[in-house]
């Protein structure tokens, strides 16, 4: 069921929509809204019918299980390529937003851009390309993944818009899409038997891009300059890629790394020096008092022993526990507890993505001929 969930802004949550349910930062789930269904979390169940008709972005609340009087919440969001990327399972190899957005920016992706992407992989980058580009030709060599992605793209409305996906080993067989290929491309009866890709942006996320590069000449634009980005984890792959790019007439070769970092806003307790000193004074005072008390007790014991008939005394602890605890030591202080002072701090993720891949960029201008006629005409008009 193709919907335009990724290409049109929607106001209200409706039956049949693909929606993202945000449970927490690291837990975002894709669901298809179905009035008969319920979305289950460990905190409780959220019936879809409570979502339908509400605006996207709505918080949905239920009482938690067991009737403790507490509430549980989720937010229902309309998917965007970036949220979709966050919702994918972590084990999938994903081109993350810091990389994908830089590649799109640097290669000038816009409504006119005709993009080649190989391979499709998890399809996360495909969604971002599809949002912006004129057309996306995505290639996937793994048959099962191809089928999964084709289905997903169809459900997400991408195939109906501006995406073509083709099952292909581009390293072996290049990028040309012909009638009879395993592809989402439809060929009209009596129409052309192959597609003129005419690509001006190429993204190669392949283990051996150097095998695919020689095939690019057949499919890149002849009139404009084409740009390529090869996405490779190892530096040795970069070296072989540069070699292939140079051999095949690509220029302005530059490799870069993108380092994305994410910070949470947190609070650190402000612990004043005077409070720390006061705590020390308090400890000292109680220690002195304890010694004096002990002296008194020893004296008392001596007297008691002399007077054997005295009733046994209840012993009190020698040192009293302090009431002065400015930093909440030994108690559980919640970050931001208004009984304490706090300083705002940024905290980086506990585990960072220290490396995704190297990005090797290059450009090629196939036809460098001049449009002499147009120039002459303009100048003639000017002179006239």
């Amino acid at each position: 069921m193709a919907s335009a969930q990724f290409s049109q802004y929607k106001d209200l949550i409706a039956e049949g929509d693909l929606a993202l349910i945000w449970i927490s930062r690291g837990n975002i789930k894709a669901v298809t809204i179905d009035a008969k269904e319920t979305f289950n979390t460990r905190y409780g169940s959220f019936p879809h019918k409570d979502m339908i008709g509400k605006p996207y972005g709505s918080q949905i609340a239920i009482r938690t299980r067991g009737g403790t009087g507490r509430f549980s919440f989720v937010h229902v969001l309309q998917p965007t390529p970036e949220l979709w990327t966050l919702s994918l399972p972590h084990r999938t190899q994903i081109v993350y937003t810091p990389d994908s957005s830089y590649i799109m920016q640097r290669l000038g992706c816009g409504p006119h851009t005709r993009v080649i992407e190989a391979g499709t992989g998890s399809g996360s980058f495909s969604h971002a390309f599809a949002r912006t580009a004129g057309h996306l030709y995505s290639f996937e060599f793994h048959p099962v993944r191809y089928e999964q992605a084709r289905l997903e793209f169809e459900e997400h409305g991408l195939l109906a818009e501006n995406v073509t996906i083709t099952h292909r080993d581009v390293c072996e067989d290049g990028f040309t899409i012909k009638k009879g290929d395993t592809t989402s491309q439809e060929f009209a009866e009596g129409g052309a038997d192959s597609v003129d890709l005419n690509a001006d942006l190429v993204f190669l996320d392949l283990p051996a891009p150097w095998d695919a590069i020689p095939h690019l000449d057949d499919v890149i634009t002849k009139t404009d300059r084409a740009g390529v980005c090869c996405f490779s984890p190892c530096i040795e792959q970069v070296d072989k890629t540069i070699e292939a790019l140079e051999k095949n007439g690509w220029s302005s070769i530059e490799m870069v790394e993108i380092q994305g970092r994410q910070y949470e806003s947190r609070r650190q307790m402000v612990r004043s020096v005077e409070d720390a000193m006061q705590r020390c004074r308090d400890i000292k005072r109680r220690k002195v008092e304890g010694i004096e008390k002990k002296k008194r007790l020893i004296e008392q014991d001596r007297l008691d022993k002399e007077n054997k008939d005295a009733a046994p005394r209840k012993r009190e602890p020698l040192t009293e526990k302090s009431q002065f605890n400015p930093f909440g030591k030994g108690t559980r202080v919640k970050e931001g507890d208004p009984n304490f002072q706090w300083k705002q701090v940024t905290k980086i993720e506990a585990e960072i993505k220290s490396h995704t891949s190297y990005l090797t960029f290059a450009y090629k201008l196939v036809d460098k001929s001049r449009d002499e006629a147009a120039v002459q005409q303009y100048l003639d008009n000017l002179a006239a």
């Binding site: 810091p98 070769i253 970092r261 303009y378």
Partner: protein, 446 residues
Amino acid sequence: MDPLSRIAFEQYVMITLPSEKCKIVQMVPNTTVSLGKFGAFNVNDVVGYPLGTKFEILYDDETVEAIEHDKRVKAKSDKAGVKVIVGKVKVLEPSVKRDEGLENVGNSENNRELIDMGRDIQKMTTEKIESLKKQSTSGNEIISKIIESHGTFDKKTVFSQEKYLKRKKQKFDKQFTVEYLSSSFLLQYLIDKGDIQRILDMSEESIGMLLNLANIRPNGTYLCMDETGGLLTYFMLERMFGGDENTGAEGKIVVVHENEHANLDILKYSNYSEAFIKKHVLTISILDYFEPTTVEELQKEFTPLSREAVADLKSGAKNTYFRKLKWYKIHVQEIEIATEWQFDGLVVASTLHLPTLLPMLGKKVHGSRPIVCYSQFKETLLETAHTLYDDLNYLAPTIQETRCRPYQSIRGRLHPLMTMRGGGGYLLWCHRVIPADEPELVVIEP
């Protein structure tokens, strides 16, 4: 000529030079462009070639002519009145590798012989080089000759070799590329010019990520504060329209500004017409946006007449009427924008106090739509993130940083560039959400 694919007359283009500096030049017919020490060329000689073409300036006795420095595209670095020699241009062949000179040189593994190689080692005089330059010799040829004449070149370390060649290349190479003035190139130009503060220290990677996180699309309606003189707006327009007025996309950007008029100066370099910009970029002052006047009040100043009444006006009065009607319509639209419009995204690059500003602007954003705020400083975003975190209208504000680290991409000598610009800014990203009422109390049977 399609100004998106071919160099066209009157178009603003970016010219990149061997020194990796760049300049913006308008392709005015029958004029000359001077690249200072790199030479000069005639505009008519490059128009009509595809954008992205790399040219080399050639000099031979037939074409050399002395010209006054072109006044319309005056480059700051050139001394006024200096005569520049205009050369012929030649399209460079694709087989030319960037650093061929270097690859042909036997490089040694040590630098024992060199402690400070200074000018004295170099056998070729600057005069000789200048004379070579005036002959029909390409930059690479000149550099090869310099290397030959440089007695100790192959005794230098890899690094000093590279540094040396780069310096020489920048000095004598007469190649230049004519590029489409993309948003990224415009940014690079402003950075090269030293306008870092004017563009709030933005980097290409930060602004690229901002556009993706804000989910900018051709058909969206976006609320924006742009304190970069229009640079941010230009980036958005490029994503939405790609330099083309005829895509049919209906997207709009409402730019809220804090002065009498919005400063979007940078848009003058774009390929968009004034009419197109007026249609898709609507500006409104922060006062008119947050304290809009009412239609009733407007009508105290001016009331539109019925069609019949207008027809009855005399010619002079009619003109006055239509002038006032235009003023009235603009203000009615402003009121609509301020009171009725809901937005598909909020994008902010402002130095106003963000913890107050963002919640005010955020109210105008539709549920589930992203909010992205750029700042040069992480500390500012931290404060803002705390404010938004405590507000149930915003989901999961996080601070994002992205940094691009370019490499010297020469095979056999791969390494990250030794120095680069610091800074680049930070992004705050969250989504507008709609808090739930408390669910009804369901009485559980005892």
